[in-house]
Symmetry: C2
Subunit: 449 residues, 2 copies
């Protein structure tokens, strides 16, 4: 099988270039229909039963291979990509899929078309070498991941029966700076809100600030009640449902590799938050919820000075949540906190409410992925008990009882969402082999359900 | 004299229209040379000895009438205007100087060409009726008031001898909502700084916020140490030099008319800051220094949500200062405060450092302006011991020992800096009469120096 994949390497790279050359920017509605059809056609050509499921947004492309098999593995991917701005910083056109120095450069090649094509190529190789797949394989390829998976819950609600599977390989995965593959077993949740504080009905000359309330000051005072400089979130009840770490969690954390020095050097920093290092640093990254100001805006923000008393002040805040925090409950606690601190006038606009999700390291799918990583990459992977990021894993998997594990073909310098997005061709080929090995191994393991 | 002015009313209005039709937008370098020459020519035609004094920016137009007279009165005005944006909200073209319903509409007609022309018209009338002015009159007409009078201090430094005068009529003045003229006897000072807080060398995915410092949070915490919600500024030593109110100050405040209800209604507010009303409200407006957030910016400020950990956060802050606060000292105290609170990394960019300035109500110039206001307008003026705004009064006047009083032809709805800027023709004509009366009265009063 591995030899077959090596022999078809150029073909699989061509497949990847072809799909990368088709722009699919969800935020700008560019090429979305074309890409959905392209994905569907590729899957159909590989022998899948396919369907484009319409949603209120872009369609979800679904494909089923060998539905007669009882045991099943789901792949979750997305065909949409981020906008390519700032385009002037790209060294080759974002949709040219140019190959240079063993890398393929394209918007979406790391996030997420490289992973999608590696998985489809693995299916192709497996069927050619063995005649058939060892289990049922289902693909869910959505078109709105980069704009918040706005209709994925709607899709999952309507297709619960079809979605049922013994495990799901989540969309992404990266190699660390030291070339070690990272396997991640969950995602943090999210409560993203915009706070809006209003003053007079128009901006005023700042001389008036002596006697007219300044919404920027009120917002500052409100925000300063949310978190103290020791990073403790001050919202009553915020930490109540945070699951305590188990001995197994600590064990996984201890084995998790996080390259502190190279990260600091790359970011031009002298230390991490609160001077953390080692285990406490990793624990904070993986298992602690956050409260992050993602955006602040009020009054005059141009060059130089303008003496203005703003009429409105805005802050965008994300809370990353850990098991078993509930985003809806956190949203309510925040409202209550603001009310109790005298900020009931501050408006809250919710943008994203997502549950955290985790799969235990002892789950058969996790074991299968970890074992095959060792086989294919010849080294122990780094296990992230959860990714510090967020995705719709809960709505698609955990709430339906499906374990999910995240592994893929990106690397620490893949520049996701940034100019010169790329993956290593070698990682792509290894990724194809890994997926083939996972299908093989997982088919033989005890069912987790 | 008053009759002469009434008879020449149309001629003076035409003069004003002519100068308003000449755009002079300093921020965009539009028509600046032309307007400086126009002002110089008008003064020369009226019999002044004139000069355009070059600075590193736009020239200051100077004119002297009857320099043989010992007693002298200085007029400070400016020929530059604000940009006319948003132009689509103007009901007639901003530089058409159209007359409708007893008002003349033009960019700059209230700020500051109406005042400049009223003063020049008064000189014209006085000389025609009486043959000569009763004192020496000097005009300083700068071209950079709307961009912060950046070179006025340089000009004043180099021309101290020429500037010396027994008093100065400052550029602006307004009628209140009830039609009562306002005389103001000073300006607040200013310390305007931008605070810049930096984190990693690039914006990051906000998942990293668990372990990477967020400059937006640091800025919030720093700002929250500057002022508490009771509006007390927490910088050590900030209030030390604030001059205590005298019995005369309180008396002036008590007589000062401030239309609370109409102001609140216009701004869509239910109450003033801290629910202040009456004397404490007026005291805060006039005699209290302020600390105002004029601008806030960090991270993502567009529509919807983006999960970003910002690399930089900025706040623009103005402190309005009262006698005898020194803007340079306040700047140092702020630096010290930030350092002592653990924010020595926060950069401070100073944009404006201006001293406050006041003239006592018993000063002969103030007495002269107030007495003649009663004569011309037939009512008691409202006296503002200081304007809550700021201007370069200290560098041009008080530091050279020149008292300054502010009075003019605008009104509460003149829309300075906004679309449909206007003055009432009646106010313009009254303003000409008032300036003539001030020259007459002040020439006879005891010299303040």
């Amino acid at each position: 099988m591995l030899e077959f994949i090596d022999r078809h390497r150029d073909q699989y790279i061509t497949w990847l270039q072809d799909i990368c050359r088709q722009p699919s920017v969800a935020a700008q509605n560019r090429g979305m229909t074309e890409t959905a059809s392209l994905v569907e056609n590729i899957m159909r050509d590989l022998g899948a039963e396919t369907k484009q499921v319409e949603t209120s947004g872009y369609p979800v492309v679904c494909g089923t291979f060998q539905k007669e098999k009882k045991k099943s593995l789901l792949f979750y991917n997305h065909y949409d990509v981020q906008p390519e701005d700032p385009i002037e910083l790209w060294e080759s056109p974002p949709f040219a899929a140019e190959i240079r120095d063993g890398r393929i450069y394209a918007r979406g090649v790391a996030d997420n078309k490289g992973n999608l094509m590696a998985r489809l190529a693995a299916v192709h190789a497996y069927r050619h070498v063995r005649g058939e797949l060892p289990l049922q394989v289902k693909f869910v390829v959505e078109g709105e991941e980069e704009i918040g998976s706005v209709h994925l819950e709607e899709f999952a609600d309507r297709h619960q029966d079809w979605l049922q599977a013994d495990g799901c390989i989540w969309e992404f995965g990266y190699k660390n700076a030291d070339g070690r593959p990272q396997v991640s077993l969950g995602v943090k949740g999210m409560c993203y809100v915009e706070l809006v504080c209003r003053g007079a009905n128009t901006d005023l000359h700042s001389a008036n600030a002596a006697i007219i309330e300044n919404p920027a000051w009120r917002l500052i005072w409100a925000l300063s009640t949310l978190k103290t400089p020791d990073e403790k979130i001050q919202i009553a009840g915020f930490y109540d449902k945070v699951a305590p770490l188990t001995a197994e969690d600590i064990n996984v954390l201890e084995n998790m590799i996080y390259s502190e020095e190279s990260t600091l050097a790359k970011l031009g920093l002298r230390s991490f938050l609160l001077n953390l290092t080692g285990l406490p640093l990793k624990e904070k990254l993986i298992f602690q919820p956050t409260c992050t100001i993602c955006g602040l805006e009020s009054g005059y923000t141009g060059e130089g000075s303008k003496t203005v008393l703003p009429s409105v002040a805005r802050a965008k805040i994300d809370f990353r949540l850990v098991p078993n925090q509930d985003p809806h409950e956190i949203h309510s606690l925040l409202r209550k906190h603001l009310d109790q601190h005298g900020f009931s006038d501050i408006e809250m606009i919710p943008y994203a409410l997502e549950h955290p999700a985790r799969t235990e390291i002892v789950n058969p799918l996790a074991v299968s992925v970890l074992e095959t990583t060792k086989q294919i990459y010849g080294m122990e992977p780094t296990v992230m008990p959860m990714s510090p990021g967020t995705g719709p894993m809960y709505v698609l998997c955990q709430r339906l009882g499906i374990p999910a594990v995240s592994v893929g073909v990106g690397n620490f310098a893949s520049n996701n969402h940034a100019p010169n997005e790329n993956i290593l061709l070698e990682d792509y080929v290894q990724g194809i082999k890994h997926i083939a090995a996972i299908m093989d191994d997982f088919a033989k393991r005890g069912n987790s359900q």
